[in-house]
């Protein structure tokens, strides 16, 4: 375009010259042409210079944008991460009314390299801890994870035992019901963390396994709570480590919406030398989501090889639950859950406890949930009522 303009200008100059000059001599014409040629060359030079400048500016802009984008990306993908979740509950069962900020949890993580990272979870339970206060401050996770190969990683430190559904995934927006299910709470016992080392490996897409060696339970051997699994959690607080535990899990997730998992744990002595009691935990669960429908089912059983446990029926402790659900849309979901468990399943007396919850979740945002459910207790316990809750994660 610019060259065209120059040509027009030259043509214009020539025509102007022809109007005003009277009979130029050949020499004058030659001089004029030389002069004009010099002007064209000067303009061409300028044009080339401008084109070069434009190219250089493009390169500068490209470099600047790339650097800005890299800086933005670095800020977004910070090596130190913070997250958390929390839940406030209101329980009204048989006129026993409680309001409780049940859990306030903070996650802190740090990525040392692409293959070595740290993860931790610090929890305040029941809002207020101290002597005679209802709450506790708990370090539930603090481990270093190293990728050994593309498919195998090693965790070392305090971590959640790979058993059940809610033990590892328990952020409030991820499950139905204000309170976590009582089967995993009283039998597994979730939330359950120990210290040790654990491997995770993927055999193929959707088939993975875990194996962990870690500290174990120390159940009471006297009193009303003797051999109760949940009360055996030492929470890695100056824990007795005379007898370690070994946990293995296999998980199948190759079909969208389906998860099939089984875990087995062996502990040589759940009394940590007090009276000697081998114990085995077996738990299996299935989760299936298809369209708006979902269902979760879990079974767990402990077998404790101890005469003292057998005498009070606590040599077998087991339970199961079944939870169908229906998601009306992305904001609302309905569920029903039937739970049955028995911490004295080894005796001949019917000591099974049952609990049915029916309710709904409302997610105004995918990471925030409001919950409501009716609760009916039966079997070796009774009571009716309802629960309200709000939870979040980030």
């Amino acid at each position: 375009m610019k060259v065209k303009n120059i040509a027009l200008a030259v043509a214009g100059l020539l025509s102007v010259s022809s109007v005003y000059a009277t009979e130029p001599t050949n020499q004058e014409l030659l001089d004029m042409l030389k002069k004009q040629q010099a002007q064209i060359e000067a303009l061409q030079k300028k044009l080339n210079k401008t084109a070069n400048k434009v190219k250089q500016n493009d390169e500068k802009i490209e470099t600047t944008v790339t650097v800005i984008e890299e800086n933005i990306s670095e800020k977004v993908a910070n090596k130190t991460t913070v997250g958390g979740y929390g839940e406030l509950h209101y329980n009204n069962i048989e006129d026993d009314k409680n309001i409780d900020f049940h859990r306030f949890v903070m996650f802190f993580g740090h990525e040392f390299t692409d293959s070595i990272r740290f993860f931790s979870e610090l929890e305040v339970e029941h809002a207020f801890s101290g002597d005679g206060k209802p709450g506790e401050v708990e370090l539930e996770q603090a481990y270093i994870e190293m990728d050994l190969t593309e498919n195998t990683s090693l965790k070392t430190g305090v971590f959640l035992v790979p058993v059940g559904i809610t033990n590892e995934t328990h952020e409030p927006p991820t499950f139905y019901g204000v309170e976590r299910n009582p089967v995993e709470k009283n039998i597994i016992p979730a939330t359950w963390w120990e210290a040790g080392a654990g491997f995770n490996t993927r055999f193929s897409d959707g088939l993975s396994a875990d194996f962990a060696i870690h500290s174990g339970l120390k159940v009471l051997t006297e009193g009303g709570k003797s051999f109760l699994i949940r009360d055996g959690r030492q929470k890695v607080a100056k824990a007795n480590a005379d007898s370690l535990a070994y946990t293995a899990r296999i998980k199948y997730t190759a079909i969208p919406g389906l998860e099939l998992t089984a875990s087995y744990q062996l502990q040589n002595d759940v009394t940590q030398g007090e009276s000697g009691a081998d114990a085995n935990l077996f738990t299996a669960h299935a989760i299936y989501n298809s369209g708006n429908f979902g269902v979760r089912a879990l079974y767990a059983t402990w077998d404790i090889d101890s005469a003292a446990a057998k005498a009070i029926g606590r040599d077998v402790q087991e339970g199961f639950y079944l939870e169908p659900s229906y998601k009306i849309n992305q904001n609302f979901g309905l569920f029903a859950r039937y739970n049955a468990w028995d911490n004295n399943a080894g005796d001949s007396v019917d000591t099974e406890k049952k609990q049915t919850n029916v309710g709904l979740n409302y997610w105004p945002h995918e990471n925030i949930v409001f919950k409501f459910d009716f609760e009916n207790r039966s079997g070796a316990q009774d009571g009716n009522g309802f629960n309200l809750g709000v939870g979040y994660q980030f």
Binding site: V65, I68, E69, I72, S73, K75, V76, A77, T81, G83, G109, E111, T113, D114, S115, I116, R117, E145, M146, D147, L148, T149, E150, T152, S153, L154, I165, E168, T169, P173, T174, F199, R202, D205, G206, T253, A254, I255, P256, G257, E259, I287, N289, S290, G291, N292, Q330, E366
Partner: protein
């Protein structure tokens, strides 16, 4: 002994690369080459993420996209234009890279190119990714079909759904612009 060998051999790469951008593009080309239609040729173009586009992106991601522009591939060889997008989104802690092709305002194909999270790798399994094929947007710019999730991978699944929505919105934006230009 095997564990000891693994430990001594030292950590390897955490990020799992499933596919490069070029391999994904090749897959899209193969997918669109039939006996009736020849292999489409793609050109690289850039969409600058101006205020208006970032505001639409924010309504999908809950945050702005951490780039000033997005380079994409476009082919106008067939009756319906095809666009290919390479997009990143954090699942829980680390970015996941996706390749997404869009045709006729529907997702043709979505693949996890690189996965860096420690949980939720199952989203890369073809059977899971297949759920996104032919999915479009409803009036609220949400996906118009349900995606069956993965327990324990909620945030990775959520990141994949958001990237599918983003690719569909960006496709619509560039095709509308293309058509407006053509009609002038």
């Amino acid at each position: 002994m095997a564990f000891l060998t693994l430990l001594l051999s030292g950590p390897s790469l955490m990020a799992k690369s499933y596919m490069s951008q070029d391999e994904f593009l090749l897959l899209v080309i193969q997918n669109n080459s039939t006996q009736e239609a020849s292999a489409p040729a793609f050109k690289t173009k850039t969409i600058w993420l101006k205020k208006e586009i970032q505001s639409r992106i924010k309504s999908i991601l809950d945050h702005k996209y951490a780039k000033l522009r997005i380079r994409y591939k476009i082919s106008l060889d067939h009756a319906e234009p095809i666009t290919v997008w390479y997009l990143d989104e954090i699942g829980k802690e680390r970015p996941i890279s996706f390749g997404i092709s869009v045709k006729n305002n529907r997702v043709q194909m979505i693949r996890v190119l690189e996965f860096r999270e420690s949980r939720g790798y199952e989203i890369h399994i073809p059977a899971f990714a297949k759920q996104f094929e032919q999915i479009g947007l409803n009036n609220n710019e949400n996906l118009n079909q349900n995606i069956d999730g993965i327990t324990g991978a909620t945030m990775s699944v959520s990141a994949m759904k958001k990237m599918a929505r983003l690719a569909l919105v960006l496709h619509k934006t560039v095709i509308t612009k293309q058509n407006t230009k053509k009609n002038k």
